[in-house]
Amino acid sequence: MAELWKRLPGTAETELRGPEPETLLERCRAAGLQLWDILPQDRCTLRLSLWQRDLNALEKICAAQGFSLEVRSLRGGCRDREMLRRRKGLLLGLLLALLLLFASSLFVWQIEVSGCEQVSAGLLLRTLAACGVEPGAFRPAIDPELVKSRALSQLPELEWLTVNISGSRARILVREREERPKLLSERPQDDLRAAHSGIVRQITALSGRSLVEPGDAVLEGEALISGERESLSGGVRQEPALGEVQAETWYEISSVCPLETLRIREKGGENGSFSLQIGKKRWILWPGSRKGLDECDKIVHEYTLGMDGLFSTPLRLLWTSGHRRAQTELLTPREEEMKAALLQGLEERIDGEILDHAFSVASCDGLLVVTLRARCLENIARAGEP
């Protein structure tokens, strides 16, 4: 950037010869010349750089002091202006590019969303598009406060939203609404209740009063041990019930799987196409058609023209690569794996042991159904609301 800054007015590198170069430098300083890269070569020779516009003043000082001046090189400035004067097309192109860049900076081309976790970025972008913030939107016409109000009314999951527009980039910051914590019941959950239907075999009430007896059939949610105790002063008092209720329970769990599954495998080979996108319009540059990609899985790589954090343009170069997926593989379900998974799932689910179990296998409508029927002995007492 500093180099470009120096190139605009143009710089000159010179070599000066004469007695006592310090006096010349002193004259230059007094004349207000800006000098840099001052390098003494020997007692009578000095090299220095200065702006091209100061060359005439330096020549006059040199002539007055009896110094010889040699211009070693000129960079930028007049030479560049002369070159541009001869190449009018280039100058016109540069001006046009600058004009287009300025015009494109009046539109939003890039939208960045941050803070989304529950609400998908796609949903937010669609909502914003409905509110007027989308690629190609005219920047001065966007009222961030209005967008914020509209978007928040359409997305109740959001608690807060802000739209920051700088250049052609719109940054959307959102904060999602936190779910209200579940209110606990004011009534103490003192009773132990049945987590599963079954027949009671053994009751161990450590605290509280047992409401069932061995041999009783209980349904899920039924109270087993009550926390109500008679108070010595009369009346009833509540205390948490403690204990275990071993009951015989029955389970029937099924697992369903298609009899045949086709799995697509990559055939190998990759092809792709280059395309140019301006705003929402897309042109395929090479190979000219996308027919070859129709039966492929496509991955699109996007390259945006612009400088990150500085400016962005509507120009995007897209490379669409296709992966062929013609080969298929026939898979059959593994019955034994399904049985083992069912048994493992049941063991993890119960607080006890499996007394006996049996499997049944059936197939209908192209599906394989494996059913597990099991008799268990487990502790079904759980603290909780009915």
Binding site: Q34, L35, W36, L46
Partner: protein
């Protein structure tokens, strides 16, 4: 020791920074770069010695491979291997 000037005494009383009164200011970065502000002219310039005139005193900087990176009316940026600086009343 020389008697301080009237401007210097007044500046000190009024707590005006010295550089605002045109005092020579030397800022050194390590031993390879120095910025001299408020100088009044170049007295000597070689790869081993740079001598500058100040408002009330002259400054001499000794070193090796000394090079003036930039210079204008009152500031000068010097680079090279700086060895020592001397002030001369």
């Amino acid at each position: 020791m020389s008697k301080p000037s009237f401007a210097g005494t007044l500046g000190e009383r009024l707590q005006i920074p010295g550089e605002a009164l045109g005092e020579l200011k030397l800022s050194v970065l390590g031993n390879h770069r120095a910025l001299i502000e408020n100088h009044r002219g170049l007295l000597h310039c070689t790869e081993e010695l740079l001598a500058l005139r100040g408002q009330r005193m002259n400054l001499r900087i000794f070193g090796a491979s000394l090079r003036i990176e930039a210079m204008d009316g009152c500031d000068l940026l010097l680079s090279g291997r700086l060895e020592r600086a001397e002030w001369e009343e």
